[in-house]
Amino acid sequence: MSWSDWDTWIVIVGALCAASCAIPGCFLLLRGMSMMGDAISHAVLPGIAIAYLLTESRASLPMFIGAAIVGVLTAVFTQWVSRFGNVDRGAAMGIVFTTLFAAGLLILTQAADKVDLDAGCVLYGAIESVPMDMVWNDSVPRAALVVGSSFLLNLLFAFLFYKELRVSSFDAELADTLGFSSGLMHYLLMTIVAITTVAAFEVVGSIIVIAMLIVPPATAFLLTRRLSVLLLLRVVIGMLSSALGHWASSSVPAVFGFSQTTSSGMMAGAAGFFFLLAWLFSPQGGVITKRLKRRSQSA
């Protein structure tokens, strides 16, 4: 297969998506809430369903708003259940997102005669179809604009609240005593997470988003301990994953004699591959690096 503009756009959108997930992903990791991306991607269904019922159109803006609102609600409810009910946060998250998803499913099936919509197709875009939806005289894919602007939003967010985010992720109580309400920061971050994930998977599909939120930050976390480097590194890793993933989607199946497969799945796989490399060979604490060091120490 030869490389075309089409492929370039796919990689660019993937990389932008990775970059925009970079910022919230890092803070989610530091806060021990990595599963939030997965939870939100399931939980937004009722928001989309309601938006669709109200506007009776498949226009993406109302759906996006509905999804973003429910995304934030997911975070709010999770916090509420875990604080108020004294429930483990992971469990609280699980209860909230399964309930919301079920509610969304129910709304969709109840309204099935009015709505030509099924749970699978509404919100999960596909990165392969990105170059089909061009705007601005067919010069730029709409997806690139969407994830690009969410990247800029995230960049602005990180720039404005870098120190507040850092302190409240590290030590919520300290943040409170310093006068940065950690609760406020939490909801702000959750809002950003919701907007970023919803914006991204509306155009590129949920798998990439979930993977890009978690895997590159974790990879970077194994490679460095400085937050600023961490942020930068994970953007780079995310972009590399996007490029490698797209390339692999056509070349790996070919090795076994199959035709090409989805890029989104392969991008997640590529992110996993980079994680594996870091896990084994990270200069500080990689499994194999450690073993080698121990050998040279004892020798």
């Binding site: 004294n86 500080q284 604490g285 060091k293 121990r294 120490q297 004892s298």
Partner: protein
């Protein structure tokens, strides 16, 4: 006067080192490439109450955890009654730090204490009357048998600590490792623990206790390990608990040295 020597040992001379409850030889442990304790050399005599003291981050808990094989050691050999930990672990009891578990867990005090009998029960066998009785006796010995049915979060800090002790007692070990059993407990509990420790000693049991209160060291322990990443001094308390060793262990920290001076005054009174 004896200054600190890295490889000083507790036993006066190691005639039968193979039968000592605990010998540690050349132990080095690191976290994330950074050595936390190194070159630890210890011989703990039978039937002794051994306090482990040192500043925060000196590796007191690390030493205990390495002895229990809970964290891997870079080098060194640990022997429990002359055999490896794996072979003789039924002789070892462990009282972890109180903060190490989730006290909201849905078990009663009796359930937790009964855990001490699990190992001797072995796989699959259920807790029976005998184990429950054993657990009750252990609770009785720490003076809280009336709280046996209580869920553990409804106990006060001191009572929780006593539950942990009772669990170790129910196991009927020969050598006990206790990680800060006196931290944040009420006076009554502290008293009860020390009575219990002395009773254990009189029955030939050996206890290693991580301790932070220098004022009570000479009152509680007959042997002392002074630790600050390496063993500064180890031996009978009245020999090693000197100002010089304290300075070597705690460095120039003023408040601690004041406490030490206070503690030394107490020694003179005794």
């Amino acid at each position: 006067m004896k200054s600190f020597v890295d490889k000083e040992t507790v036993a006066p001379d190691g005639e039968h080192p193979a039968e000592l409850p605990l010998t540690v030889h050349d132990l080095t442990v690191s976290y994330n490439q950074k050595p936390v304790i190194w070159d630890v050399e210890l011989n703990i005599p039978e039937g002794s109450l051994v306090g482990i003291v040192g500043p925060n981050g000196a590796g007191k808990s690390t030493l205990i955890k390495a002895c229990l094989n809970l964290i891997p050691a870079n080098s060194g050999k640990i022997e429990i009654y002359g055999k490896s930990y794996q072979e003789n672990r039924q002789l070892v009891g462990y009282v972890p730090q109180r903060e190490s578990v989730d006290w909201d867990f849905p078990v009663s005090a009796l359930d937790v204490v009964a855990m001490g009998t699990y190992r001797q029960l072995g796989w699959f066998k259920r807790v029976g009357k005998k184990q429950k009785q054993q657990a009750m006796e252990a609770l009785d010995r720490v003076g809280i048998s009336h709280l046996a049915k209580r869920q553990i979060s409804q106990l006060s800090g001191g009572q929780q600590q006593r539950v942990f002790l009772a669990r170790a007692l129910a196991q009927d070990a020969m050598l006990y490792f206790m990680d800060e059993p006196f931290s944040a407990v009420d006076a009554a509990t502290e008293e009860a623990i020390i009575v219990l420790l002395k009773e254990l000693r009189s029955r030939g049991r050996t206890c290693l206790v991580v301790h932070h209160d220098l004022a009570t060291v000479s009152k509680y322990f007959d042997h002392l390990v002074m630790l600050n990443m390496r063993v500064v001094a180890a031996g009978p308390t009245d020999e090693v608990f000197t100002e010089e060793n304290l300075r070597a262990t705690y460095g120039g920290k003023l408040s601690v040295l004041d406490a030490a001076a206070e503690a030394l005054k107490n020694v003179k009174h005794v």
